[in-house]
Symmetry: C2
Subunit: 102 residues, 2 copies
């Protein structure tokens, strides 16, 4: 992984909401509206943060009906580094997600 690419990936990781998205996705594939509820930020904000993570291919997306599900890209060259970073972060709980989606 060259310096330029690593720079852009670390930039994508260097934001609290995106770190939280990565942390939750490391536990479970989630759709946008679930992330909106979990992170308690606006839908456009979640979409824009996901875009940054998509641009550097840290996450993958899969459309199912109305929903778009996001997962950590576990074949990314820096996937082990990402998990290492997540392991240093506070434990978060993935409580029952209130069915606000729908």
């Amino acid at each position: 992984m060259d310096f330029k690419k690593t720079e852009s990936i670390l930039r994508a990781l260097g934001e609290q909401n995106r770190l939280k998205i990565i942390t939750y996705l490391s536990m479970k594939t989630l759709c946008v509206c679930e992330l909106v509820e979990i992170l308690d930020i606006s839908q456009p904000q979640v979409s824009q943060h996901l875009r940054k993570l998509r641009e550097v291919e840290l996450v993958t997306e899969e459309k199912r009906g109305r929903w778009v599900y996001y997962s950590l890209n576990n074949i990314h060259a820096l996937y082990p580094v990402v998990l290492h970073i997540v392991s240093t972060l506070p434990l978060v709980q993935l409580n029952e997600i209130r069915a606000i989606c729908d």
Copy 2:
């Protein structure tokens, strides 16, 4: 390490010149003028990048005479993560540093 602090550390790491500084410091303690020569960027640029790394305590400094020597902070909570990142970067060589310092 909380999300806010991790954000600021990843931001400090998310820049090519700073990634190179970290990479070289992982091999050897170096003074500012040596980094200026190795990275081939201006002295104020090196000093400002070092400041960002100092602010998040990724590096430590030690003044000896006219020179200020910088080292990786190996007791930083994220030191293992930093080494993990460095291990994914291209190998760099620390050739004889022409004695431009002095």
